[in-house]
């Protein structure tokens, strides 16, 4: 099933003389249970693509369908609610609220989205998989960078979103850690049936991907050959 799709999306930054055409007539869809990798060099439009797919940026032209809903026609409030229930962001910068213990980071979400979150048992499973079960009573400042990233991932997974979006999740990691994160993202797709979309310039993630796209100068092309 299509968890997310972009139809004929183009995006232009600025106006008049300072125009940047970041995306051109882009069509894309991602299925539940797959890891989709969008590879491209710096400045190719990856972040623009991801912010549009995540509903944070309205494309100049074209449509975005998230979890079956035409995102651009929703009210701001409905957009917030749809992002909260359907999209989990895995970001390079985790920015956990420093004054909330790990368990309270989840509580914050449950105060806003009262239903449809992971059950206690499911959350325990996710925490286990991410190896952060023992950290529930700690503040972010007491965690290592990797632990913070995994807490941020758990927080993104807690509302049980159908779609996971990750922007350069391995930017500053050594090969060992790249494998850990890549495996984690693949597990989210294959074991938890999420549609996972990763934009990156890091070819080390190719081995975990089900679908591979190339983006260059704002043009997206699907690569037929999967698995290196």
């Amino acid at each position: 099933m299509n968890a997310i799709s972009l139809q004929n999306v183009s995006h232009t930054y600025g106006s008049d003389t300072a125009q940047v055409h970041a995306l051109h007539q882009l069509n894309f869809s991602a299925q539940s249970g797959t890891l989709n990798l969008v590879l491209g060099p710096s400045g190719s439009g990856k972040t623009t693509f991801l912010t549009i797919a995540g509903g944070l940026l309205t494309p100049t032209t074209g449509g975005v369908t998230i979890a079956g809903q035409n995102y651009t026609t929703l009210s701001k409030k409905q957009q917030d609610a749809l992002r909260l229930s359907s999209i989990g962001f895995v970001l390079q910068a985790y920015h956990l609220l420093p004054y909330l213990k790990v368990k309270e980071q989840f509580k914050l979400v449950s105060q806003v989205k009262k239903t449809g979150n992971l059950s206690a048992a499911k959350l325990a499973e996710v925490l286990d998989m991410l190896e952060i079960t023992d950290l529930l009573n700690k503040y972010p400042s007491e965690l290592s960078g990797g632990q913070q990233q995994r807490v941020a991932i758990a927080r993104a997974l807690y509302p049980n979103p159908a779609i996971i979006l990750a922007d350069e999740p391995t930017a500053a990691l050594d090969s060992q850690k790249v494998k850990v994160v890549g495996q984690l993202l693949a597990d989210l797709a294959h074991q938890h049936d999420k549609a996972v979309i990763v934009v990156t310039h890091d070819p080390r993630l190719i081995e975990f991907a089900d679908q591979i796209y190339d983006i260059t100068d704002g043009v997206l092309t699907h690569k037929d050959t999967v698995q290196a």
Binding site: T47, L50, T51, G54, L56, L57, K77, Q79, D80, A81, L82, R83, L84, S85, I87, G88, F89, L91, Q92, A93, Y94, H95, L96, L97, P98, Y99, L100, E104, K107, L108, V109, Q111, V112, K113, Y139, A152, R155, A156, P159, D167, E168, A171
Partner: protein
């Protein structure tokens, strides 16, 4: 609320610093308010205790009882709702005691002010050389039966009674007979009173050269009274503004530091209103904590304050001032709230 409480709890040092400032400001405001009220009461306590609505003074007296003299013809016909009084500044002296600046108020024993005077001890004035004085004379070592002299008179007066709240323009009152006032002033054949007062708002003096004022007009014309009130109001208003600025600046800094965190939450779909609510409740909570501690300090001060300090702790008034501070907190939080509403989730995506 959840976020605000957690943050205050975790960031004890920062929260403590803001709360400390709010405590100090709030304490200062409370003390100034009490002082202002206390001084105002010392200006007006006696007038209030008479329960009069109207004052009739000589038209040329510029609404100032001290400058007003009325002759017998001007007094005209008075009903039982009216009374006459003679007012004059005196210095009270007694051997071995420090001199006291006071106000002499001469009354007619058969009129309502003298009759209604509430004594805390002793008996009313019955003779020309008897006086009833403000309680504060007791703090200076006077007691029932004490003798004192007024100004440079040879005559000695005997304190036969004490009364409380007998303060006019911050000076304690010496109540005596109106005839004593005339003698003291040397007005044997001149004016016979300073003013006519009436319990009735409808009272109008009918005789020539005399003007009727409301009690409020008289109080506002008491020397220094308005200037003093204005000064206090200005100081309190400034402190309010300072507290507003402190709250706004502190909260703004705290909020700006959280912007990336908020941006992530916004990206994830946490509504702005949750973050706005956290900002506002943080501000209000900090002020309420500050107010609570400031109130305790003020209560302690009220308890420990010597009676001589003219302070009046009026709970409804202080509560109103406290509410003003909470309003300042709400206003102050609007500055960071603006930034929270503008937080751009895209700013944390990418790298």
């Amino acid at each position: 609320m959840f976020l605000a409480l957690k943050e205050i709890k975790k960031e004890k040092l920062r929260s403590g610093a803001i709360i400390t400032m709010i405590v100090l400001i709030c304490y200062l405001i409370f003390i100034l308010t009490s002082l202002s009220l206390g001084l105002a009461r010392q200006n007006t306590a006696a007038i209030k205790s008479w329960h009069v609505q109207r004052f009739a003074l000589n038209s040329n007296a510029n609404t100032d009882m001290r400058q007003s003299f009325l002759n017998d013809d001007q007094l005209g016909q008075l009903t039982k709702n009216e009374a006459v009084l003679g007012q004059g500044s005196v210095v009270a002296k007694a051997a071995g005691k420090e001199k006291l600046s006071a106000v002499f108020v001469g009354l007619k024993s058969n009129q309502f002010i003298a009759k209604n005077l509430q004594l805390t001890s002793g008996h009313p004035v019955r003779h020309a050389h008897e006086i009833v004085v403000d309680d504060s004379f007791q703090d200076k070592g006077y007691h029932l039966g004490s003798h004192l002299r007024l100004n440079d008179q040879k005559q000695r007066y005997t304190i036969v009674g004490f009364t409380k709240n007998a303060k006019l323009n911050i000076a304690p009152i010496v109540y005596g007979q109106l005839s004593t006032w005339k003698t003291m002033r040397g007005f044997e054949h001149g004016p016979s009173a300073s003013a006519i007062v009436s319990k009735k708002a409808s009272y109008r003096a009918q005789t020539a050269g005399i003007t009727t004022y409301s009690t409020k007009q008289i109080i506002n014309k008491l020397p220094g009274y308005q200037a003093q009130n204005t000064t206090f109001i200005l100081m309190i208003a400034f402190l309010m503004v300072i507290s507003l600025i402190i709250i706004a600046v502190f909260l703004y800094i705290l909020t700006m530091q959280k912007m990336p965190n908020y941006a992530v939450l916004r990206a994830q779909g946490i509504p702005s209103k949750v973050l706005v609510g956290a900002t506002i409740s943080q501000s209000v909570l900090l002020v309420i904590f500050g107010l609570a501690i400031g109130s305790l300090l003020t209560a302690g001060t009220a308890f420990a304050m010597p009676a001589a300090v003219p302070m009046a702790f009026d709970v409804p008034m202080l509560a109103a001032v406290g509410l003003g501070l909470v309003l300042m907190a709400l206003l102050g939080s609007l500055v960071p709230v603006r930034s929270v509403l503008r937080v751009d989730p895209i700013s944390v995506i990418g790298g």
